[in-house]
Symmetry: C2
Subunit: 471 residues, 2 copies
């Protein structure tokens, strides 16, 4: 009975919010009033309110009550930028190495520091330590098995099962993070001089790998909401045979776009038709903000065309240095390249991680983290809309860590990089995400850290510096 009572209240409040009986920013009736009016216990009312809060419809203000969340309308999305029609070599400027070398690229104010770790992350540390103490002589004297530990591969397969995706543990190879996974995948599919397609804007880490491996790259426009433009990809593959298409379908950096399942299926058909591999970067796949399962392209792979890469760095800890590649067709090649590049993975981290996942701690942690990131996204986007809504356009990511800002045409984000750095502010300029120097007037902003007072101030300095650039 109790179950139905909180659900009824929840439904009633949701209806009043959606129908704007309760307006954005308005305070909803107090807990006491809701108890009295609906003849419910305090626990039942609180349960309903907390569920609405988790949904993002309301938010709590300490000592004051619950308020209706403001909903951001996706009306100021960045505009489409035309990408060059021919492949090009990548030539990463020195400045970008500097930015990349600041692990801070996701934090505009690195000196501000990170929030405390969750109790789940502490649990993970304990589990890793316990794994380190188990059979230490074996770990000291023998390298890990080439593919990585089976229990961890099984645990990763289980995480994908929860995303309605079947990945066989045998198809997985543990790597030293997603960057390593992507490097192995590109090496396994391409040789010097080959051409690869990337989203535009694209992840700079991949662009630097392409540069180093001497590949040609062709940029394919990516919509800030729906990702890769498949018409453009199809057209370009008519003229330029590509060996691989590297894509982050779920919450790609910088835009945070999410590819619809129908587009994923079309991409696989195209790969089959034009004989190329899809290298899927799934590093943000666990960081979706709605409750729908977030499918990877790999879920639709019926022909072995998708090489799935992922990592625990963004959803759990950058310290772990544990990632994975899943592929059936190229598995031998991937394992061989892993042995060649770094031989083996640490066993304690793998052991601790499998326990962490199988004990349910991973899910509990990511649920918390998604909620936190969603709140931080809202804070960041509201601040931008409030102060610079008329001066810029921005993407509205439903997951991941970052959004993409388009400033007026005459602004050159790169020009202000050094100046802002002297104030401890790290700007991530648009051209970092293009092999052709596109996106001069764009930048990435991340909501991976809380918008503290200092970060808010830094954001103001950042925008003011950019918007006041002398032409």
């Amino acid at each position: 009975m109790k179950k139905f009572r909180y659900l009824a209240l929840e439904e009633q409040l949701r209806h009043k919010i959606k129908s704007q009986r309760f307006k954005e920013g308005e305070k909803i009736p107090s807990v006491r009033a809701l108890c009295q009016h609906n003849e419910l216990s305090k626990a039942t009312v609180l349960h309903a309110l907390q569920r609405l809060e988790a949904e993002g419809l309301i938010y709590a203000v300490p000592k004051s009550g619950y308020f209706v969340s403001q909903t951001l309308v996706q009306r100021n999305l960045p505009t489409k930028v035309t990408t060059p029609s021919t492949p090009t070599q990548v030539n990463v400027p020195e400045l970008f190495r500097d930015i990349m070398s600041r692990s801070a690229a996701f934090d505009i104010l690195p000196k501000e520091g990170a929030p405390h770790v969750t109790s789940h992350q502490k649990t993970l540390n304990r589990m890793i330590n316990r794994a380190a103490r188990a059979r230490p002589e074996q770990k000291s004297n023998y390298y890990d098995e080439p593919k990585g530990q089976l229990p961890l591969r099984e645990a990763i397969a289980e995480l994908y099962r929860q995303r309605d995706t079947e990945i066989l543990p045998e198809s997985l190879c543990i790597t030293a993070g997603c960057q390593h996974a992507l490097f192995l995948s590109i090496m396994a599919t391409c040789k010097t001089g080959d051409t690869v397609a990337v989203e535009s804007p694209a992840f700079y880490g991949v662009l630097q790998q392409i540069e180093h491996l001497g590949l040609e790259v062709i940029e394919i426009s990516s919509d800030p909401s729906t990702g890769l433009d498949l018409d453009e990809l199809e057209n370009k593959t008519k003229n330029w045979p590509i060996k691989a298409c590297i894509v982050t379908p779920n919450f790609s950096t910088p835009t945070g776009s999410k590819m619809p399942p129908s587009a994923m299926q079309r991409l696989i058909s195209l790969a089959q038709d034009k004989d190329f591999f899809i290298i899927e970067d799934d590093i943000y796949g666990e960081l979706n903000f709605d409750n729908e399962p977030c499918l990877p392209i790999k879920a639709f792979d019926n022909c072995g065309r998708v090489i799935l890469c992922g990592s625990f760095s963004k959803c759990l800890s950058r310290e772990l240095r544990i990632g994975w590649v899943s592929t059936d067709r190229l598995q031998d090649k991937i394992v061989q390249l892993k042995l060649i590049t770094q031989l083996a993975s640490p066993q304690a981290a793998q052991g601790g991680l499998s326990e962490f996942i199988l004990s349910g701690n991973f899910k509990r942690h990511t649920n918390q983290q998604r909620q936190r990131l969603k709140t931080q996204r809202d804070e960041l986007l509201r601040e931008i809309e409030k102060h610079w809504g008329k001066n810029c356009r921005f993407s509205y990511p439903n997951g991941g860590l970052s959004c993409w800002i388009e400033l007026p045409q005459h602004i050159d984000t790169q020009r202000s990089y050094r100046q802002l750095l002297t104030k401890g502010i790290v700007l991530t300029p648009g051209p970092l995400f293009s092999a052709n120097g596109l996106y001069k007037n764009h930048m990435r902003l991340s909501f991976s850290h809380p918008l503290t007072e200092h970060r808010r101030a830094a954001l103001h300095v950042l925008f003011n510096t950019l918007l006041n650039q002398v032409v």
Copy 2:
């Protein structure tokens, strides 16, 4: 005073052993007799005996006393094998991937397992765990600095200082082990189609890297005692311009050879003269069995020609996955390649390791390990000499983990690999160490694990199988 008394006894006994007054295998006078005869305390006598034991001159037999060690004479060294005069492409057979994938390559009987870890290794685990608990939010949210942690780079520099070698912490870049370090170094110096020189026999890990990177390789004979044949290298570089020479000067696998300092200096002059880089694999540098400092080639590098690679995998733990590259001239390139291939190194392992080194635990651990390995080398070589001394020749390494066995010409070690594997015995056949299929009748044996009864039995099965091959 006491100090001089034990030294006097030690000197006296050493003299009697060296002058063969005490013969090999003979029991020396009992502790009680030595006390009475020299008017010394039991503690003083035991101290002198333990020092002679550490030196390898005598060994203890429980409840029986001390005996004079048998000295192995280096009379059965493997013979020189002629290497091809032209460069070749590497084509690693499938079988070798199988061997490499058995992390067991250093253990003929992996199911036997490893001995217990030392108390020092347990201390290391505690230190890593402590480092993991310090500022965990920083580690979870930010990647490590590109070069790796400064305290660890300083600690590594200190280890080299103890080997009379100056390495600047700024010149070091932390990697995910030595394999990763070598991969970065080869990528930083060579591009597809270039030629590199390697020792012959060579480390198979490097041969596989060369194959993958599409380089040509020229094999240079390596003497089982003194390493790289510099006359041959000089001759071959007249005809074939090389970009890099990859060499393990101290206790290279498989032979265990050690390059004399004069040869190191000559190699550097040659590199300067012929414009190539020396990629030095120093992974066994801490595992020398005599008390002299064991200089790396880098100690003589006055022109930035040497790229020094190392790791803690062999001297401390294979679980750590922490190695390093030291280079001044190519530092930027190496750091960039590290970021591209795997972004960052785990910070807790680095923090724990620096503390472990600076607290003196590393030195205490390696001292113990050297002693253990030396004893195991003696056990292995004695067993070989005793049973198959007439059938084979073998190297006599003064450090490292392995020795090199030459069997009669008609034997094909590779042929028995699968057969032995069915018995759980892992043979490491000679051709694994050559790009040209040389060393058909050779194999590597490692003394990294104690010669337990089971391993001794496995050794007998191994030799009997090989020596009884039907021609």
